[in-house]
Amino acid sequence: MSGTTITCRKLGFLYDGEEQPVIQNINLEIARNQRVAIIGASGSGKSTLCQLLCGLLPRSGGGTREGEVLLDGIDPAAAPIASIAEAVGVLFQDPDAQLVQGIVEDEAAFGPENMRVSPAEIEERVAQSLAAVGLLDRRLDPVRRLSGGQRQRTAIAAVLALRPRLYVFDDACASLDAAAQANFLQLCFTLQTEGRTLITASGRFDDAARAAQRVIVLDGGTVVLDGPPEELLRCCGEQLAQLGLLPRPPGEAAGAAAGDKPVPAATPPHSAERHAGKPIAAGSVPAAAPHAEGARESAASPLLEVDSLTFAYPGGREALHGIHAKIYPGDWVLLTGENGSGKTTLSRLIMGLLPAPAGSIRWQGEDIKGMAVYRRAEQIGYVFQQPEYMFTAPNVWEELIYSLHGGVPVKKRRELSAAEQERAGFLLEKAGLTDRLHMSPYLLSQGEKRLLSVISQLMLPRALYILDEPTSGMDYAAIDRVIGLCQHMLEEGSAILMITHDPELIKEHATSFIHL
């Protein structure tokens, strides 16, 4: 097996209906059997580049390409499908957009079936690729019954089974738990020893980038750095941190998070006990332990109490068992756990999107069971794991102010008050979306989508915000934005329940932990 060589000459790309090209003047030469990491901040054009490499752009996505892309001398936008599928297999960023068969094992079999592989070999490939992502025991499950991370694994398996000469993985680790990420690194290593070319794209100088032979750094659609990882780390650490690809030294982080406006009273009220929070296993001690001292006026009455909560999906397996947790006003709780451990399920139960058993969830001391979702929404803000699920409006601005009017047509709405205008402006600036107001939310890059889904919930003050993986796949600068936003909400007196696979990046701000 030999890899694919890639050549890009003066590559540029402009999306339909846009004025500014997203990719400009990229010149690359990637040798066969090389392992390359493309990194860049959110919106720098990584996904666009990946889609150009496999020909999806402009072939079926439209837009105008300039310059040349060649895979082993053939142009992926013009070559017959068969030769492209042999040359390159791509994992796209959004797993939902690429799962087309509905059943896990059928997803894995889809590629080989199209490539006329014999049934016996398909079976072997399906088994092997599902084993590689740890999904063998779920092979007969419908994809829509999987957790976010499990879907991403399915998508990875489907690409693996194709066995092309070149793999392109766009942010493959975004929703994976730590063990699966390590597993994925190992997998990349194996693929390379088999002689394949490998490209990974991500928003951080992460382990995949450190393990690569070559790191290409994108900024604003052009290559700004290119070289072996050790060398880049040695020479350009400062620049990488500036781009948000390396974490900033601790002192600077808070200032950066605030953007241009420094946040007044930046030290959160809990700073004294910041590091007091210890991971608490589900079902053991209530998560309120760290509040013993330092907690404010409301120490006595928790906002939300979860009490021996057990939940099973209809006709499915038990997703949660005997969960205890307490959240107090002003808390910042991190909810962690492996893929499929029930984090999203717990958050949906709290929000009322799934029916919780009576008496197991209490809001300000009262059983929440009979409370309609729209009533809960007056107290709790909720951000979905998949930002696309949220979007209800045609452009970014409308999306942001949707909760203010609840879908009333423009003509019948009241004017936004000055305070609302100000809040909207503030949030947009903190999220860095000020110049995107007229764009459709669906056309944003993945990180931008996430930020938008967060700030559109923050528009209205709520007692509790539940954020399901708001930082997944983001660069450090964007994570700082999220942290800054959260800190601001804490200052307003809200509590935050944040689900994350990056606890080490946020833990210094958290007041307590729940581990499922």
């Binding site: 496999c54 020909g55 999806l56 072939r59 079926s60 996505g61 017959p80 499908i81 068969a82 492209i84 599928a85 297999g89 791509v90 796209f92 959004d94 957009a97 690429q98 087309v100 068969q101 509905g102 094992e105 059928d106 079999a109 889809f110 590629g111 080989p112 079936e113 199209n114 490539m115 006329r116 592989v117 014999s118 049934p119 398909i122 079976e123 399906v126 419908p142 829509r144 489907a158 690409v159 194709l162 929000m351 009322g352 999107l353 309609a372 979702v373 729209y374 929404a377 007056e378 909720y382 979905f384 699920y389 949220m390 979007f391 209800t392 949707y402 909760s403 609840g406 879908g407 669906y442």
Partner: protein, 252 residues
């Protein structure tokens, strides 16, 4: 109503999808040919027996099916028995009269609906749609890209329902109250339908792109992970059934 394939090993399950489809069509033709209510009744009983014993359908399933179709069939029965002209008056009630001929026509029509529906239900429950699609391409030589449209649509149905749920969830999370009153219910329903439709169309481009990147349409044919072996008795019995149908057509 969404009836779905259920895995099993009954005789009907072991038939290949196409032979079974031929038999189903012949059954429909026979049901059309019989125009006496009693003939339809006998035929319906035969079909029910087959679904019960050859298809292992439970009495509950069958009753459920009969209830479903009854809702549609009863109004047909009433309309027909009141409007068809006949000689022999069976019941006279003011100016409304019901004749034996009308009852016969109405009975035949409604029983025929029962037969068509229940046999179709047996077909759906015992036929794996993926196998049907594979057979279409293998034996009828339908190009697989088109046949795949059927599997794609089948995959989309639960997806669309799920997408609908997401839309409802998102709106509720943003504080939408459930609509009250007819007017707001209708406008809410229309908004909902258009949101589902727009999401569906948005998916088209993504899905097609993702499929092509996995080699969809690369070759005129493709392989299938699961192989179906077709029992020869299935095809033979289908042929016999066709001949019997033709013969019946000839004699009536």
């Amino acid at each position: 109503m969404l009836i779905q394939y259920e895995k099993g090993s009954s005789l009907l399950h072991r038939y290949d999808p196409l032979s079974k489809l031929v038999i189903l069509f012949c059954t429909a033709v026979i049901a059309m040919l019989l125009d006496q209510a009693w003939q339809q009744a006998v035929f319906l009983l035969l079909c029910i027996g087959q679904a019960r014993y050859a298809g292992h359908m439970s009495g509950r399933q069958l009753l459920g099916g009969i209830r479903l179709i009854a809702i549609v069939a009863v109004p047909y029965f009433i309309l027909t028995s009141l409007t068809v002209q006949g000689e022999t008056v069976w019941l006279q009630w003011g100016s409304v009269s019901v004749t034996i001929e009308a009852l016969n026509a109405a009975g035949a029509m409604t029983l025929r609906m029962f037969t068509l529906f229940l046999t179709s239900m047996a077909y759906i429950i015992t036929t794996d749609p993926r196998e049907l699609v594979a057979e279409l391409t293998r034996r009828l030589r339908v190009p697989y890209r088109f046949a795949f449209g059927i599997s794609a649509a089948l995959t989309f149905i639960p997806l669309l329902e799920e997408e609908g749920n997401h839309i409802l969830d998102a709106q509720q999370v943003r504080g939408h109250r459930p609509p009250k009153g007819l007017g707001s219910r209708i406008s809410y329903g229309l908004k909902f339908v258009s949101a589902v439709l727009l999401n569906a169309l948005r998916r088209v481009q993504q899905t097609a792109g993702a499929m092509e990147s996995k080699g969809f349409g690369a070759y005129p044919d493709r392989t299938y992970r699961t192989e179906v072996n077709i029992p020869s008795w299935a095809a033979v019995s289908a042929v016999i059934y066709v001949l019997a149908t033709v013969w019946l057509w000839w004699i009536v």
